[in-house]
Symmetry: C2
Amino acid sequence: MIASRSFLADHGVVDGRLVARARYDVDDAGDIVAAGTAASLQAVPLAPLVRDFGRAVVLPGLVDAHSHAFQRSIRGATHQPGSDDDDFWSWRTAMYEAAGALDPDGVYARTRECFAEMLHAGITCVGEFHYLHHRVDGSRYDEPDALSLAVVEAASSVGIRLVLLECYYERAGAGAAPLPEQRRFCDGSVADYLARIERLRERGVTVGIAPHSVRAVPANSLRALARYANEHALPLHAHVSEQPRENEQCAMEHGCSPLQLLQRCGALERSGGFTAVHAIHVDPADRALLAGHTVCACPTTEADLGDGIVPASDYVADGVALALGSDSNTVIDLLQEARWLELGDRWRTRRRIRLASSTVGQGERLLRAATRDGAAALGRAGVLGELAVGRKFDAAILDRTHPVLRDVPDAFLLDATMLAATAALVVHVVVAGQELVS
Amino acid sequence: MIASRSFLADHGVVDGRLVARARYDVDDAGDIVAAGTAASLQAVPLAPLVRDFGRAVVLPGLVDAHSHAFQRSIRGATHQPGSDDDDFWSWRTAMYEAAGALDPDGVYARTRECFAEMLHAGITCVGEFHYLHHRVDGSRYDEPDALSLAVVEAASSVGIRLVLLECYYERAGAGAAPLPEQRRFCDGSVADYLARIERLRERGVTVGIAPHSVRAVPANSLRALARYANEHALPLHAHVSEQPRENEQCAMEHGCSPLQLLQRCGALERSGGFTAVHAIHVDPADRALLAGHTVCACPTTEADLGDGIVPASDYVADGVALALGSDSNTVIDLLQEARWLELGDRWRTRRRIRLASSTVGQGERLLRAATRDGAAALGRAGVLGELAVGRKFDAAILDRTHPVLRDVPDAFLLDATMLAATAALVVHVVVAGQELVS
C-alpha cells in the first residue's frame, strides 16, 4: 500500500470525472493508493518514480466486454456481394469458414494479433466469448482445453487482462443437431462443459459462463448453466435477440421471447449477474426483465452485420447498464463503439443527447460504458474500469496535442474525446501500473 | 509534362483500383504523367527525385464536399442536455451563438485550425459551404468580402484546395425576415450576392453557388441563382430535406417537396450540376429527380444532429452519385464518413453489402464517394479525386504497419481500409506533388 510510482498528466479521469493536472499514486501491485488533482494531493510526497504524460488525457483502461478474437482475421474479407441477398446469415457462413481453418497454433496466433491491437487501442481487459473448443470434427484434442488455453496464453503474452467467457453450444436450433461446421463448438453435455470450467478455474483462469444463445442451447441446459453461474457468482453472458429470426424461433419453440426464456431458466436471478449481448429486437417487457443487469452493445458490428440498433436510451430509462464490445473485431476502437451507442440512438429516435442526464455528462456516460460498466459485466466491479483509490491502475493515455483534441477548450475535453477522437490517439497504455505501450 | 518526381509505395490506388507496388510519375505542375504498377512502368526511367513510401497505402487525396469550418470550434460543446427536448433546432441555437461571436480574424483562425486538421486527415480539397458574410447586425465590413477572403486565406495558408460554396441566405422561412442571428448571413438581394461572386471569381477564387435551403431562399431567388450557376457551369449546392420540418414548410408554401421546388426553379437543369446536401427525408419521386446529380451525405453529423439516415442504396439504384462531407466537423475523417454511408444503410435496411456491386467492390465504391464523386460535385471532375494520368497528384498515404492494417491480406486491403481504418492512419499528405504533411 506504499506508492512506488506517481503518474501525472495535464488531464485525467478520477472517480469518473475529468480533472486538470491529474495525479495517481500506485503501489507495486498496481493498485491506486491515491488519486486526485496534483493540487489536492500536494501534501503527499511524490513516489520515488514519477511519470508525467504531459499534454495527455488519462482514461481508465478500456474494457471490451464482448469479443470473438479470431474473427479479426476476416477483417475486410466479407464485403463482396454474394450470389444471394447478403445478410447476417451469409456473413456467418464466411465466418464459419475462418473458424473451421484454425488449429491451436492458429487460434493462438490470430488471438494474439487481435489482443495486441486491442492493447494498442487502450483496451486493458477483454471478455473473450470463446466458442472454438475442439477439433473440426468435434473430437477432443489430446489436451482437451487446448484452444481455451491458447486464448489464455495469447492474452498473457500481450499483457491484456482476460475474462474467458467460455461458450456452451449444443445444437443448430430447436431439435436440430449441430451443423458440421458447429461441431467444434460443442462439448456434448453441460457436464463436460462444466468440467472444463472447473479445470480452467483450477488453473487460475478468470472465466464466465456463456450459453451461446437460446437458439444454440435448450432450456434444460440453460437452467443448469445459470444455476452454476449463480452458485459460483460468475458472470453469465449470452447473445440475445440479435436477429428477428432468433425471436421467431424462440416463440415457436418456447412460446416466449429469448429474454423471457432466460428468466424462466434462472439466468436473471442474481442481480447484475447477467449480460445480454446485442438485445436489439426487444419489447418493453423484455427490457424491464433486464433492469439491474447489463446489455452489451457492439455498434460497429451490429451495423456491419445489419442487425439493427440497440435501443440504448430505452435501456437507460429502464435501469439497465450498458457495456460495449468489439465483437467481430473489424473495428477495434471502444471510443467509436461508445460514440455509436449514442449516435445510433440519435439516428433511431431523431433526437439529440440521449444518454447524458443533468447529473452525468455525455462524455462521462459514454466513458462509463467503455470502462466501469464493462468491468462490472465481466465480474470485475470495484477492481477495474475506474481510476480511484483501491482500483488497479489500468489506463489508456490519449495525445491531447493531436489535431482532433488540441484546440478543444478544457471544459469540453471529455465530451470531445468520446464524440470525436478514436483509439488511434492512444499513445500510452498502462496495465497494473506497468507501461506496456508507449 | 516531363516527370520530375516518381512516387512509389507497396500499395496504391490507380484508376480507382488498389495495386501492389504502385508508381506515380509527376511533373512540376503536380500533374500525373504516368501511373501504374512499378512492373508495368519498368520501361520508363524513374524521375530524378524518387519518394518511396514503403509499407503504405496511397489513396487519392480525400475530397470533403460539405464543410462549415467554424463549427469545429463547438466540437464537444453541444452534448449537455438542455432544459427542453434536444434536437437539431436546439443544436442550431448553440451553433448560431458561435457564429455570432466571430470577427474576420476569428473566422480566419477557426477556419485555419479546421483546414489544418482536414489536411492532416488526408483531405486535400474542401467544399466550404460558407454563410458568414457580414457584421453581426448585417452591415457590411469595409472590405465587403472580408469573411470570404478570410476563408480563402486560411485554405491558402494551410495548402488545402478550396471550392468556396458561397451561401445565399434571405429569410428565416416563408414570409419571415431573417432572425437577428441570421442577419450576417444575408446579402439582401441576389444581385448583391452575385456581385460578390463576380468579385471573388475575378480574384481567381474557385466558387460554387449555394442557396442555403428552400427554407431560407424563396423561389424567385432560387431561380436566379440556378440560372447563374447553369450559365457559368458552376457547382450548385443546397441543403435539402435534412429535417422533416423543412419538407412540411415547403409543402405549405409551395405545395411540393424541396426537390420538386428546386427542379421547378431550374436547379436540376444541368446534368451533374446539382448537389443535394443530406437529402434524407425524400420519397421515390424526389430521388428520381436527382438521377445524374449528387447527394452529399454527412453521416457523422447527420447522426449527431438526429437528422436520420441517408437512403444511400436507394440513391445508387436510382443513378444518383454519392459524395461525402464532414459538415459540422465534430468528426473530420472521410474514412469514417464513407464507412457510415454503408453501415448506416445496413442499419436502415438490416441487410449487408449495400453499395458494392459485382463490378465495383465495397472499398472501391466507398473510396469513390470520398474522392472522385466529391470532386465531381465540386466541379473538379477530371482534375481531382483520382490517381490517373492527367489528374493532379493529390494523395493521402496511410500507414500499412499500423495494427489496424498490418495483418490484413493484400486481397482485402482496400475493403479493410475503408471499413476499419481511420484518418488517424494518414501519415503523409501530398497536394499537387508537394508533401505537406509527413
